[in-house]
């Protein structure tokens, strides 16, 4: 047989003493990189727990239920309840305002917009997500706050000020403003996921309803929502996760109340969330006191809450997308 090339020997050698073993190593390296993520999460739990442990052991359960917050040496007491409540209340406001708007946006974009408008409009909504949190905070501090105060909070205070949650003189830097800004910030996430969820509803459902003469709204309400319900719920939970973890924008508009004064009894008064107290106080905390440990312990609580919410949300959304028809 005529061999066309005279160099086959060299190739043979090159291949024979080969790197088949390297393929195995390659797989292990890649697996190691993948495991890195898991390692980081596990390590995070361990280190944050260890960092916060001094405060937790010192105050025990009172850490979660106490409302006093005093870093002064000799009279140190740390209770995180106001901040936990602050996180929950601001997140709740964000959900109440943000989720309906997000679903409205998603409904418009998936069911009602014409093709030409859909792309640029959805792109603009996405851009909302790209704006950094600190710029939301800056805008909230110097622009939005006065609008909130003049057009919403002062009227509220004047008319409904006898109701406890609207009591006190509002200055614009308070729980309500923080909640509203959070609502704006979760709109891109919740609406994007809601849209994907809605698009995963098979068209056959819509067509059946249209064929009977249903209006667009009726199609949405009776053909799309029943299918998408769990996915929409999952989208909202994702928004909740974002709202809980959001730091800078909240820090800059919530007014930096501390201790019992931070209890969110009134929406029109300054407050504090778990994330914002850490941002506000960490750099000034005396490293030789329990103050840093207390802040880290709050971080641990935040970690657990955020983790639980995100895990639940991811599970819900992926389950709906998988069973009802994939987007991919």
């Amino acid at each position: 047989m005529t061999k066309v090339f005279s160099n086959s020997k060299s190739i043979d050698d090159k291949v024979r003493k080969n790197v088949f073993n390297f393929d195995r190593i390659f797989k292990w390296i890649a697996a190691g990189a993948a495991a890195y993520i898991l390692a980081i999460i596990i390590l995070m739990v361990i280190e944050v727990a260890r960092g916060g442990e001094p405060a937790l052991t010192r105050f025990g359960f009172d850490f979660l239920t106490g409302t006093d917050w005093n870093p002064v040496e000799g009279r140190e007491v740390y209770g995180a309840l106001p901040y936990i409540l602050g996180t929950l209340v601001t997140a709740a406001i964000a959900m109440v305002i943000g989720v309906p708007i997000s679903i409205g946006v998603a409904m418009y974009l998936s069911e009602m917009a014409s093709k030409n408008i859909r792309t640029p409009l959805s792109f603009i909504v996405e851009l909302l997500a790209a704006v950094p949190s600190v710029i939301y905070g800056l805008w909230g501090l110097f622009v939005f706050r006065s609008y909130m105060k003049d057009f919403i909070e002062v009227p509220l205070s004047n008319s409904l000020g006898f109701i406890p949650i609207f009591s006190g003189r509002p200055f614009g830097l308070d729980v309500l403003t923080a909640g509203v800004i959070l609502a704006i910030m979760i709109i891109p996430t919740v609406s994007a996921v809601s849209r994907e969820v809605m698009m995963a509803v098979p068209n056959a459902q819509r067509e059946a309803a249209y064929a009977i003469g249903a209006t667009k709204w009726e199609v949405f309400r009776h053909a799309v929502v029943p299918y998408a319900r769990s996915g929409l719920f999952g989208a909202s939970i994702l928004g909740l996760g974002r709202a809980v973890g959001e730091t800078m924008a909240v820090t800059m508009v919530i007014g930096n109340a501390v201790g019992a004064a931070a209890l969110p009894t009134s929406l029109l008064q300054p407050g504090q969330t778990m994330a914002s107290i850490i941002a506000n106080e960490f750099n000034e905390a005396d490293p030789f006191s329990l103050h840093p440990a207390a802040l880290i312990a709050i971080g641990l609580v935040l970690f657990i809450v955020a983790m639980a919410i995100n895990v639940a949300a991811t599970l819900m959304v992926s389950r709906m997308v998988k069973t009802k028809g994939s987007i991919e």
């Binding site: 047989m1 005529t2 061999k3 066309v4 090339f5 160099n7 086959s8 060299s10 190739i11 043979d12 090159k14 291949v15 024979r16 080969n18 790197v19 088949f20």
Partner: protein
């Protein structure tokens, strides 16, 4: 007549009588690939059952049969691509020059160099030029000498009858040529690693008649230097191009023999029914 090939027989070969006589034939260089009770499975379900056949060197062997008969699975076993699918396994022996390529410890990478493959739909590497496509097998195995690569690229493109058409455009992207040319490019690419066997899985089925004719002429020329196994669903093509034909049905080898005999005087009724189009 065929020249004898120099074969090195590894000491790991089993020594029972049957295989010895097989080896005897090997030494005469007549059979390049021998399947011995070979089966292939997907997650435990057999797609190919107990196939035994001998593929002659420097000849074209066609594998025909209706869809789902296992012919693509079979040819992908030749260069150990079958096992890339998760859950895919094999049993039995597949001997290349007397060595069982499925022996534990056998290096699939070396085997794939010796048994090249051309796929149904032309698949040149999308980010590489024509030159780089042909040289890919060499470059990715560490060959760096520019002159050597130039020589190899030219020879392979000439052998696949593409050189004249692209010699001035070697740096153009591999995807920029027509479908038929892309397939010849893939053939050149497969030839660059100096395989001894060339497997072709329905190489012309995605091409127009003129390109198909060119590929068939190519196969006829290539068999002088390579052993060719071609899967085809086009019986006329098998009749035109091959020296031997294997007819598969539902994973089993129904009949195997010289093409002339299979098409004009088949032994099995099943074969005759398929050839005459009573089922497809």
């Amino acid at each position: 007549m065929l020249e004898d090939e120099k074969i090195t027989i590894k000491s790991m070969l089993p020594t029972n009588k049957e295989v010895q006589s097989t080896n005897h034939e090997l030494i005469l260089g007549r059979f390049k690939i021998i399947l011995d009770n070979f089966s292939a499975y997907y997650s435990g379900k057999p797609a190919i059952k107990d196939i035994s056949m001998k593929i002659k060197s420097n000849a074209v062997t066609a594998i025909i049969g209706p869809s789902g008969c296992g012919k693509t699975t079979l040819i992908r076993c030749f260069n150990r691509l079958h096992e890339l699918i998760s859950g895919a396994t094999t049993s039995g022996r597949l001997l290349l020059d007397g060595e069982n390529i499925y022996e534990s410890g056998a290096n699939p990478i070396t085997i794939r160099r010796k048994i090249g493959m051309v796929f149904q739909k032309p698949n040149p590497f999308p980010t590489m030029s024509i030159y780089d496509n042909v040289a890919a097998g060499m470059k990715l195995n560490g060959v760096r000498d520019r002159r050597k690569l130039d020589e190899i690229v030219r020879r392979c493109l000439e052998m696949s009858a593409l050189w004249d058409e692209v010699k001035d455009d070697l740096n153009k992207p591999g995807m920029s040529v027509s479908g038929g040319q892309q397939q010849r490019l893939c053939i050149a690419r497969a030839l660059a690693t100096e395989p001894e066997v060339l497997c072709m899985d329905e190489p012309a089925s995605a091409l127009d008649p003129i390109s198909t004719a060119k590929i068939e002429q190519l196969i006829d020329r290539l068999k002088q230097d390579y052993t060719i196994v071609i899967v085809t669903h086009n019986m006329q093509q098998a009749a035109r191009v091959s020296d031997y034909t294997a007819f598969l049905y539902l994973g089993k080898l129904v009949e195997f023999g010289p093409t002339k005999q299979i098409f004009e005087n088949p032994t099995e009724k099943l074969t005759e029914d398929y050839i005459s189009g009573r089922f497809g």
